[in-house]
Symmetry: C2
Subunit: 412 residues, 2 copies
């Protein structure tokens, strides 16, 4: 039998480690012949664009390089499968590719949207008595997939956020004049990553002094009160804000976001920190700076979490075992057994439990005022950012592995 694996959605530092987990575990099975990689996620199955991973991963050196390379080795996509009833063609095309290559298990590494694909493909196969296993492997820096304690990719992003936030605090605190620094952190609907900035407090930092998550309605009026109150105590006020918080048009009527949407109907965010600096400038007399952590928070593999990278490989490997045991339509997930010592078990759930659903940051981990998180949030995040990878450097720069055939034209 042959198998196939693909990567989907936004890049992370851990998604290539999950790919390696699938590859190395599958290689242990005598009955698995070819391990295919589908280029650009599900698009590779639609366009019959597959690569044989045995041709690509030929040595331990390559494994090491792929592990330290961020983003998706096989490319990615934001392709949303249509409902089968509306467009059966694309399903038949995918099935044709899978059959042509005698693929009997397909592993899809991705987030909420990718689990939608896993669910739809699995339903199609079941309805048509096709014996192909489809397994979802979670991934997203947003950490917003339901069921799982956390998602691969989140730990590395959280480590980047904490490390960078600390450096920003040092940078912002050097002058003897009052200042407000507003750091915008990714998180479409949920504040997990923004909340992770509070882990710094485990090292004695007080900042960020204010933390705003999209789980709470944002009030410009209260925000200004909060900043004023913080300025009574701190010259250099540090604010962490999720890109997903929404400014009430009645309180701020400028258009601060592009309004564009992706194939899943999700808005491209970014811009709220800049909008907030305008509000602070207008109302308080001090130096203000907006900082977007931008794509760096999802691709800064040079400061990735070793635990995250290791767990990503483990959950990829477990997905292969799950398929080999005859399962399909499942998403792998982490169940945190204990926090001290940190101990997780990898389990499976029906993919319906995760697809198109959102795991919000717990309301009880947000303080009453809605401008900070509690110790529980810190305790939750800390184990996930532990450890550093040993890096292969070349010319003073981390060495990346680039799969030329998976790149769009010209970028090889």
């Amino acid at each position: 039998m042959n198998i196939a694996v693909a990567q989907s959605g936004g890049p992370t530092c851990a998604i290539n480690s999950s790919l390696l987990g699938v590859f190395r575990q599958a290689a242990k099975y005598d009955n698995v012949d070819v391990i295919y990689g589908s280029v650009n996620g599900i698009e590779g199955l639609i366009k019959n664009n597959l690569v044989n991973l045995y041709d690509i991963i030929t040595s331990d050196d390559e494994v090491e390089l792929i592990r330290q390379t961020p983003s998706t080795l096989l490319g990615s996509c934001r392709y949303k499968l249509p409902e089968y009833s509306k467009d059966p063609c694309v399903y038949e095309t995918i099935l044709k590719t899978l059959k042509e290559h005698e693929i009997s298990a397909f592993f899809y590494i991705g987030g909420n949207d990718s689990m939608d694909t896993v669910m739809k493909l699995n339903r199609y196969f079941k309805d048509n008595n096709v014996d192909i296993s489809v397994i979802g492997i979670p991934k997203t820096i947003d950490n917003d997939l339901p069921v799982t304690d956390h998602t691969p990719g989140f730990g590395s992003a959280a480590k980047y956020v904490a490390t960078t936030m600390q450096e920003i605090i040092r940078d912002s605190s050097v002058y003897s004049i009052p200042s407000v620094t507003i750091v915008e952190i990714m998180g479409r609907d949920t504040g997990w990553l923004t909340a992770s900035s509070a882990t710094l407090r485990a090292n004695g930092e007080i900042a960020p002094h204010l933390i705003y998550l999209p789980e709470r309605k944002f009030s410009v009026k209260e925000f200004l009160e909060d900043v004023k109150a913080a300025q009574e105590k701190y010259y250099a006020v540090i604010v962490a804000v999720s890109e997903g918080i929404v400014l009430d048009p009645e309180e701020f009527d400028e258009d601060y976001q592009s309004g564009k949407v992706d194939n899943f109907g999700h808005k491209y965010l970014a811009g709220v920190a800049k909008a907030l600096t305008k509000i602070v400038e207008k109302n308080l007399n001090c130096k203000v700076r907006a900082i977007e952590l931008n794509v760096m928070q999802r691709c800064a593999s040079h400061i990735s979490s070793k635990r995250d990278i290791t767990e990503a490989a483990r959950i990829g490997a477990a997905a292969v075992s799950t398929a080999m045991e005859g399962n399909t339509g499942k998403m792998m997930y982490f169940h945190r057994v204990t926090n001290h010592p940190y101990n997780v078990r990898i389990e499976t759930t029906d993919v319906e439990n995760a697809a198109n659903r959102v795991k919000y940051f717990p309301a009880e981990w947000i303080n009453e005022r809605g401008n900070d998180v509690t110790q529980e949030a810190i305790d939750y995040c800390l184990p996930l950012i532990q450890g550093e990878q040993n890096f292969h450097m070349k010319n003073g720069i981390p060495q990346h592995y680039v799969l030329k055939c998976a790149l769009p034209r010209g970028n090889e």
Copy 2:
């Protein structure tokens, strides 16, 4: 005798290493008693706010932590000394502080503006027969100080830029749709740091495909032509642009910068990448993203260059020796003797040769079209980004040393 040292201007990853260089070298002299740190640069001498560094740096562990802490241990300032003829008071106040503490040598670590302070103080002392040595120790991520081959802080910033640019390239190249990513890099008047993004080519990356420095007049029309031409070859076009390039109001009439200026009359920049994305969106049909490397490029000590950190300590130590030999009114500088093998000598120049002057990126290292840099730029930068520091981590986050008495109120 006692000595004093202060840090000034924008933070870097290497300025604390220079401080340690001064401290450890001065500690070797039997005739040096107290080594003072002046809090918030020259402001500490004006406000008589000094700390005894022997009280602060008491063990090798502290030395290690201070070395890996970015920004300025002693705080910083953007204070411009008035002309003596216009305001002698402040000079007399500074002298009073120095005399009260029996300080006979003052070391100022900073950039172009700080060398202005060194020059003015030295002139005042000479004119008034005051026997206090004043020595400038260069520092700036902009690398725009004249005379010196390069400035401490630049190598670490360049290593961050190259490392991060590579990660951004990975992140930007995953989708099978055309895109343009515009990365904005610091550099008020000069393009040194933006040019350093080209060092990636030593590792086989082609990107960034377009590089724009402030040394060349920027044309929106030519920029659009360049991007279009790049899109013929590359799906994911990567552009590196210096914050200091100026959009001609006749070509782009929106106000894209805050217009604010600091005490030296320098404009706060930032915003040009965002402005360029608007231009690309309007004229070319593709996904566009602006990324500001923001303050991270000057404070991301977790990916600092070991050579930069080591050289910063060496030049700080050399400054002490220079003062002890009876010199004053000097700036220390690096003279690059050979590139292969990399070899620099530390020498001294009259501070007048550096103060208030700018070292521009060489015109002959920019290509004819003004949208790229030459191999010379890569050869120049590569030696400066070599090596990594061993980091003390705590709770999965790099450990910083914070001097509480040097922080503005509330941030301790």
